[in-house]
């Protein structure tokens, strides 16, 4: 146990500030405020691999490492689309995943955001359109934000997620509020 504690102490804190979106200063606290104002709680992301080569998944994983510390910014990954505000979709949509992707989208409650990740998510990438590939995510779902890159860096992914957060209508009542009730987070 002591060696574990010593290692933790020696490693220290390595989390870095969030990247600023183009032409705008936004620190971790501002982002948290924005998410709280819009949702009254953490932003919940459901990742869907719709046919990716798994390269984008490696960088999505990196978002949770101590350097990018996504959870520290009030954003977390959830296991069910029913718990999600945002779908992070990778891959050209393979023909074999088209139905599963649509069903995942349908299972996600409104209002929902879709972020298409990677060159493949943006336009089908090197796989293009074929008997097996539908092409980019927008061929199947309405897409709010696109994050190009092959694979996009964690910083690019964070910027894309932040851009999507800005599309959230501020003052959506949190899910726990009954219809017609007012939210304490309402601006």
């Amino acid at each position: 146990m002591l060696d574990v504690l010593l290692r933790i102490q020696r490693t220290g804190r390595v989390s870095e500030p969030l990247p600023a979106p183009e032409g705008e200063r936004r620190e971790r606290a501002d982002l948290q405020d924005r998410v709280r104002a819009a949702l009254g709680r953490a932003l919940c992301i459901r990742h869907v691999d719709a046919g990716s080569c798994n390269g984008c998944e490696l960088e999505i994983h990196a978002l949770s490492n101590p350097y990018y510390n996504l959870e520290g910014a009030g954003i977390r990954f959830v296991a069910s689309p029913r718990h999600a505000d945002l779908l992070l979709v990778t891959g050209p949509v393979s023909v074999n995943m088209e139905e599963a992707l649509r069903r995942t989208y349908d299972a996600t409650p409104d209002p929902k955001l879709v972020v298409a990740v990677g060159d493949c998510g943006a336009c089908g990438g090197i796989f293009g359109q074929s008997y097996a590939s539908c092409g980019g995510v927008s061929q199947v779902l309405p897409v709010d934000v696109t994050v190009p890159g092959c694979p996009p860096t964690p910083t690019a992914l964070l910027r894309g997620i932040l851009a999507a957060v800005r599309l959230l209508p501020s003052g959506v009542p949190p899910r726990s509020t009954p219809p017609g009730g007012t939210s304490p987070a309402h601006e």
Binding site: D3, S52, E59, H61, V95, N96, Y131, A132, S133, C150
Partner: protein, 514 residues
């Protein structure tokens, strides 16, 4: 070459490793497989081709790993024939490979499993996308086709259906568990959800762009696949990548192995309830990726390996920085290894879980890391070393345990060995150019590239068409072999141990889905 096959015409096969080719008839297809099985060989890949435009025949091809060479066996089906002998009784992993060939080309193994593998209903049953007369770019209306899993009957047996969308940041696939209480009686996988038509796409891209597609067959093995592609093309054309380029390719390949092993070691700790392991190893991995960015211009160097060499040279100042980084990394890994080894709660979960008996591993034809953790001492870097491994002397690591603990230990062993290889490469990095021009391969020329990626042997087989085009391209991921093995390793374990056991295999979906 095996003595019993000497009646068939054979020749040297262009490759980065010692390889020969053999042409056989229908009887020879089985005889060769039986002789290879008898001699302890392994089936590495199996694919088909439509050559009806040339000689009115379909062909099946198989690549085997023998003791001292790679053997590519080719069988031209008799004219008008659309079936070939089933190899699954000799090499169980052939069953799914043959189903894949049937979906793409409409040629079947006699009496094999008739269920589709790649085709889930996304294109019509009578359309075979790899046939020369098929329109590869066409899209078809999707019809949902039911799939018959094999069911287990008995008192109290029930099924758990998982996927294709899984509960984490993971690739999609279908798992059907038959369980009694929490004990797994049977697992059946249904994959190919991420089938993207890679083989057909090679034909569209041509020789000079195919390496970019190869790198995206399985992104976590981008260096291995792009190197295998370039190795095949270079062998076909006689082009030779300069010494500096092959050293940098090996540096990138070993760093790819390191990045994946570090990620897995963290995730394995996490899946056994030790979040500290994930935090520590993901930090080490992130630092490795940042140094990759300095060295190769990308955290994941998808487009580093190009025909004739590498796309970018290592900046002069980065070499010493990498050596320094490796020192710190090795200290970190050794410290974490001793923490893992001495953590009784962690070892309790690792030991005995997902046990793959070495004898069964041989019968099933397990390859790569999973095979080596069950006593199968095969590694292309050691058995059939190509440049620069011929002078590097990679050390073979084997564990006999066959459980999650053995697969964890092997990752530690191999990570430390990769650091040693990286240091050796950096210490003696040859000067000179990093790329030579590669002329187009002449139509009809064939070649095969074989690279030991972090999971196991990665293969790319190519046949040139006219004017720099590709007539046929085929990429093979070692997960093809090891997915069916996982179905056995889980037997008798409890459902809650599946994530841990699955992670200890960490197989690719996209790679075998193609």
């Amino acid at each position: 070459m095996l003595a019993s096959l000497q009646s068939y015409p054979s020749s040297a096969f262009p490759s980065n490793v010692r390889a020969s080719g053999l042409s056989v008839d229908e009887r020879g297809w089985l005889r060769a497989a039986a002789a290879i099985r008898e001699g302890g060989g392994t089936l590495l890949a199996l694919w088909g081709s439509d050559d009806r435009d040339r000689d009115r025949r379909f062909r099946v091809h198989a690549a085997y790993l023998l003791a001292d060479e790679l053997l590519v066996v080719e069988h031209a089906l008799p004219e008008g024939e659309q079936s070939f002998p089933d190899l699954a009784s000799l090499f169980p992993c052939a069953a799914r490979l043959q189903r894949a060939v049937a979906d793409l080309l409409g040629i079947r193994a006699h009496g094999g499993d008739a269920r589709g593998w790649f085709r889930h209903g996304g294109w019509p049953e009578k359309v075979f996308p790899l046939r020369r007369d098929a329109e590869g770019e066409a899209r078809y209306p999707s019809t949902s086709a039911p799939y018959r899993y094999l069911s287990v009957a008995g008192d109290g047996v029930h099924e758990i259906a998982v996927g294709p969308v899984h509960a984490g940041t993971i690739e999609p696939g279908g798992f059907r568990f038959s369980v009694v209480g929490e004990k797994v009686l049977r697992l059946e996988e249904r994959l190919a959800y991420t089938h993207k038509g890679v083989d057909r796409r090679f034909e569209k891209l041509g020789q000079s762009a195919g390496h970019r597609l190869a790198a995206r067959v399985s992104g976590d093995s981008c260096v291995a696949f792009s190197w295998a592609y370039c190795a095949a093309l270079e062998a076909m054309t006689g082009a030779e990548a300069p010494a500096r380029a092959v050293a940098l390719r090996a540096l990138a390949l070993e760093r790819e192995r390191l990045a994946n092993h570090l990620g897995d070691l963290g995730a394995l700790g996490n899946d056994a309830g030790f979040a500290f392991g994930l935090a520590q190893f993901s930090r080490l991995k992130e630092e490795l990726l940042r140094f990759n960015d300095d060295a190769f211009g990308a955290r994941y160097p998808f487009d580093l390996v190009v025909p004739g060499g590498v796309a970018v040279d290592l900046p002069a100042a980065v070499g010493p920085a990498l050596a320094h980084e490796l020192e710190a990394l090795e200290l970190g890994v050794r410290e974490l290894r001793s923490i893992y080894d001495e953590h009784t709660g962690l070892q309790d979960r690792f030991r005995g879980a997902g046990w793959l008996d070495p004898g069964l591993a041989r019968t099933l034809g397990a390859v790569g890391l999973v095979g080596r953790a069950s006593g199968i001492g095969r590694d292309l870097r050691v058995d059939l070393p190509w440049a620069p491994y011929d002078r590097l002397g990679a050390r073979l690591w084997v564990r006999e345990g066959g459980d999650v603990a053995a697969r964890v230990q092997l990752r530690f062993d191999e990570a430390l060995e990769s650091m040693r290889l990286c240091r050796a490469l950096l210490d003696a990095l040859p000067p000179g150019p990093t790329r030579v021009p590669v002329p187009p391969a002449a139509a009809g020329h064939r070649g095969i590239g074989a690279i030991e990626g972090w999971r196991g042997p990665v293969l790319v087989a190519l046949e040139a068409g006219p004017e720099g085009s590709l007539r046929r391209g085929h990429a093979h991921d070692p997960s093809w072999q090891n997915w069916p093995v996982l179905e056995f390793a889980i037997l008798g374990n409890i459902v809650p141990d599946f994530p841990l056991i699955n992670k200890s295999f960490n197989l690719s979906y996209s790679g075998p889905d193609g």
